[in-house]
Symmetry: C2
Subunit: 627 residues, 2 copies
């Protein structure tokens, strides 16, 4: 079997435009893979604790993984990471599209950006080289316009662009990084970090196919996927929002800033309605058969340009049900504003829902909102608020700081209405429906996050996920509204897998089994890898990110979720079903122990770090008196 | 993919000859597999702590694993377990041959024997049924004679017999169970348990081929093995004793009761010399291409019957170098006496070496030994002592109790010369050459043991084992004479694997990679298994056995090795190379932590047990106030 994975990392210092190329040894990639583990490695190695996330000392890392860009469904993603301006801890966002694969074709596994440019710049990376270019003329432009300008000036329409829009430039704390103008590395406010560096965009172009060690294996896997279209047909047909009505029926569709679990307007904002109304096309990411992306178009009452794709489930729930908006065109329009300006739809939705609750409770008044009647269900008000956030004007300037900081500023009852963990806005999944998911929000290194979480409902019956999970030793179904030791065990194993997937930067939507993912890695790298090795990469990512947060001063008390989740719904299918803080805290402690972390502090033990071949992290924590 | 592993367990109560058949659900097999994990499961569930290992309350379990008996190299083994009369803790021995495969063909994964027969009996198992039969006429017979008598009376020469000889009947504490008259389930004194139950033999016969879910996969693996004969040619050519001279050259050949690491007579007792002198044939186990077994023949000065096979490495070193005997024919004769009488060659060799040291130091005198000049190098004396042990006569009656009990009875300096851990005699591998191996002796649930241990020398250079181990995430070579955190990590992972192999009851000699073993399990069961799942089965075995020992009162202080190992050799290649108790103790503590055990007591934490889906074990330990 061929052996020898080769990867390169591009280093850019914006303070002097210096560009260098590093070529870490193969075992570096085998230990840290890419994405989350690789980003956390560099953040721990190269940042001083306590630095300002929006200062020049922060570093910004774009990273694929060892299988990014090989011709297989799910391999087109990339991760963008930095110290998060929302949480002050480890931050990353993941995004699909074509940019990640293009970066690999250009010869790089990752780009590490440090410093701050004096004037706006963008980075052009092509076939093994990088160049810092002036972006003064791009600054202030929305994403579509900026992408066109870059492609024009590089004389190449095939250039792939990751960029920020005006919200990133203005340091909206939950600004995201936009690929291909319609995919978002949404979470953690990485777009604000990019803005703080005055880095408008990273344009990449490569002409070398990504080497594959066992192309036949990839072909076999692709054929299997095409022969099993039924496994992803629903996702293809209705997109991620195709499951919205089921969540509503189960009583777990975030509604009215998480005060309710079902929404009368659910069907109106569902993937099925989208299909039947505004959908004009289905779109895909690099090499992917699933094609879960939406392309929507509308003209009145809201103008929606298909270039921006269409809203995902998270967007439909964040800007729809959770704000009680049942107008899909309004949601699609808001989605477009976010894509054009590089705003995380989850964070902004949760923030606006909070503002609406404040408004209805009189914590915010029309005087605060420039007269906007910021009530649940008012789509016009939502769009107005969104535009103010982009512009950082009026109430928008407050809300652009994120729900946690806005609530702190408002004071009084407001913080108890702010749905966030560690400063990151809660995504649109309900812990009262999925009990381990709540634990996942609490212990995620990035604050409330759904991408590497556990969705209990998928484990409570004979789903493909549960059948596949026998491979990990999880042999029986686990009731969704329970958080016992067995659930905690499954949660622990599965979130290690998610941490791995975030390090390999593989998409979770193609219905690959664990074994098939291992085959993909084997085919891409030639390594005789195993699910053990991959889970240990995931565990490395979990420990590196936690070590980063510990060094920044995070403590066990920060691993918590909003109190609202511990109050049972009073109506709907889950009315009266308890999600007890006591069970949550017991599970958290058990999770710490299962992870080999101190059961009180949640700090990784030296033994665990050594077990992961991360002795250097134990030393680093020791230098900072942890534990 | 077909799914549905079916297995049956035969239950025999010798006190009333009652026989029943159980059919545990598939997930039972997926959790506990067979061999060690299955045996430990039943010992924990069905024994009361503190019972006499040689009393009727003990249970005796013969077990294969889920892949036993499928047509692939390494699948012919079985395990025999019980509470050990040597250690008072968990005990098992593993053995090759054909018996294990035959048991599966007879329809059973395991046989559980309880009680004690009033008169000698044997058990006949054939095609789904069992029968307790009179064995009065077999009692006292050597193995070859007894096997012939059983086959004659069952009118079937293809019956496979696992049995004890006279040493087992007389409860020699290190009596073993003999398969096919020439393979030994050697360790832990399980043959004495069998003797205490008055169970002479278990004869099995089956006519149903073992179901295989993916026969083509097994064929491909077999073809790969045959195409890679160079990977096992050495083992085939010279047997396990083929490596004896290399150990001698490295300074790690146990010599003179572990006082020396090299032996002038090494070549004379090596596999190479065996090949060139007394070897008449090479033998194999069920379905195995390796054929590492020896068949030797001699007439003078020692009569050696080829029916008993030939000595393994352990035997050559135990009864050869460690007693300073350089006469291969004498070693082969002693090997025959052990096979005919069911004695563990390792234990008896280490015990006689101890007696020789005592004799030379005047702790034993000719008066104690019936005049035998029990000096190092005296082959005649060794054979005389061996015969006295079998007969439990004179000095033999003392030595039949095992080295730990014999030394205690002698008192004075004697215990410091007794090379054992937890009462089990040290096998023929040298911790001063292989530092993690010493840790392995200490923490093994069965006391000093080599079958599931770590052989540091194989990890210190680019061996196939090290290359394969990248699959577990062990990426770089590890110096043999070091016991740091990295070594402890590799030791921890690898011994989990060995615990798994002892649960699958697969042989470690066919050069299968980790991935290939997973393929074998997949092909045999239809389970989409993974190395993660298999290592967790191994971890389950490690925790079940430790929990059993904890319940029996074992404590951290019992996880120790003889002090002799911490004194550097004064001559030979390892002269002056330190193996420090300090490093050993630090590694032991780190190992406890890496295992999720209390770092002080070595007791599995409840969290670790829950992580392994062994909540019932946490409850059981809790009932006994542990921790």
């Amino acid at each position: 079997m061929p052996y020898g994975y080769i990867g390169k990392i591009l280093r850019v210092d914006l303070s002097d435009s210096r560009i260098t190329v590093e070529e870490p040894e193969e075992n570096f990639y085998r230990r840290y893979f890419g994405g989350r583990a690789l980003i956390a490695y560099y953040l721990l190695k190269e940042l001083q604790p306590g630095i300002d996330a929006l200062g020049p000392e922060n570093i910004l890392i774009f990273a694929g993984g060892v299988a990014t860009g090989v011709p297989i469904s799910g391999s087109g993603r990339n991760s963008v990471g930095a110290k998060s301006p929302l949480t002050g801890g480890y931050g990353d966002g993941e995004v699909g599209g074509f940019w990640g694969a293009e970066l690999k074709r250009a010869g790089f596994d990752a780009i590490i950006v440090k410093g701050r440019a004096e004037k706006p710049v963008y980075l052009s990376v092509a076939d093994g080289h990088g160049e810092v270019r002036d972006a003064a003329h791009l600054w202030g432009k929305e994403t579509t316009e900026a992408q066109k300008a870059i492609r024009d000036e590089l004389h190449d329409d095939a250039v792939r662009v990751a960029q920020i829009g005006p919200a990133g430039e203005r340091l909206v704390r939950y600004a995201c990084v936009i690929n291909d103008v319609n995919r978002a590395a949404g979470r953690c406010g990485i777009g604000a970090v990019m803005g703080s560096k005055r880095l408008k965009a990273v344009a990449v172009r490569g002409h070398q196919p990504v080497p594959v060690k066992e192309p036949e294996a990839l072909k076999r896997l692709s054929q299997w996927l095409l022969a099993n279209r039924d496994l992803f047909q629903g996702l293809h047909e209705n997109g991620t929002a195709g499951g919205l009505m089921a969540l509503d029926a189960a009583g777990g569709l975030p509604t009215r800033n998480f005060m309710q679990g079902s929404f009368k307007g659910a069907e109106a904002i569902s993937g099925q309605t989208m299909r039947d109304t505004i959908l004009v096309k289905r779109d895909t990411c690099f090499a992917c058969a699933v094609a879960c992306k939406r392309v929507v178009k509308a003209e009145s009452p809201y103008d929606v340009d298909p270039v921006y794709g269409g809203p995902e489930y998270e967007t439909c729930a964040a800007l729809g049900s959770n704000c009680m908006i049942d107008d899909l065109k309004a949601v699609a329009r808001a989605n477009q504003v976010c894509a054009a300006n590089s705003i995380d739809t989850i964070a902004v939705g949760t923030t606006i829902a909070f503002a609406m609750e404040c408004f209805e409770k009189g914590i915010l008044t029309p005087k605060d909102t420039d007269g906007i009647e910021l009530r649940f269900g008012n789509a016009e008000a939502l769009l107005q608020a969104l535009n103010l956030i982009v512009a950082r004007k009026g109430i928008g300037n407050l809300l652009a700081e994120g729900v946690a900081r806005a609530a702190e500023k408002l004071g009084g009852e407001a913080p108890s209405l702010a749905m966030h963990v560690k400063g990151q806005e809660v995504p649109l999944h309900e812990p009262r429906l999925k009990h381990a998911l709540g634990l996942g929000y609490a212990v995620s290194p990035t604050g409330a996050d759904h991408v590497h979480n556990f969705h209990d409902t998928a484990w409570s019956q004979e789903t493909k996920l549960l059948r596949d999970s026998k491979t990990l030793g999880i042999l029986e179904p686990l009731p969704a509204q329970r958080l016992d030791a067995r659930k905690t065990r499954a949660f622990t194993y599965f979130t290690l897998w998610r941490h791995f997937m975030n390090s390999a930067v593989l998409c979770i939507f193609p219905p690959w089994s664990y074994s098939q993912v291992a085959e993909i890695i084997r085919a891409a790298t030639g390594w005789d890898t195993s699910i053990w090795e991959l889970l240990k990469v995931g565990e490395r990512a979990a420990n590196l990110t936690r070590a980063f947060n510990v060094r920044e001063g995070f403590a066990s008390g920060d691993d918590d979720i909003p109190d609202r989740f511990f109050h049972a719904f009073t109506e709907g299918p889950l009315a009266g079903v308890a999600y007890s803080r006591e069970a949550f805290l017991a599970a958290k402690r058990l999770y710490y122990q299962m992870m080999g972390w101190d059961e009180e502090t949640g700090i990784p033990t030296a033994a665990k770090l050594h077990e992961l071949d991360l002795g250097w992290v134990a030393e680093e924590l020791g230098r900072h008196g942890k534990p």
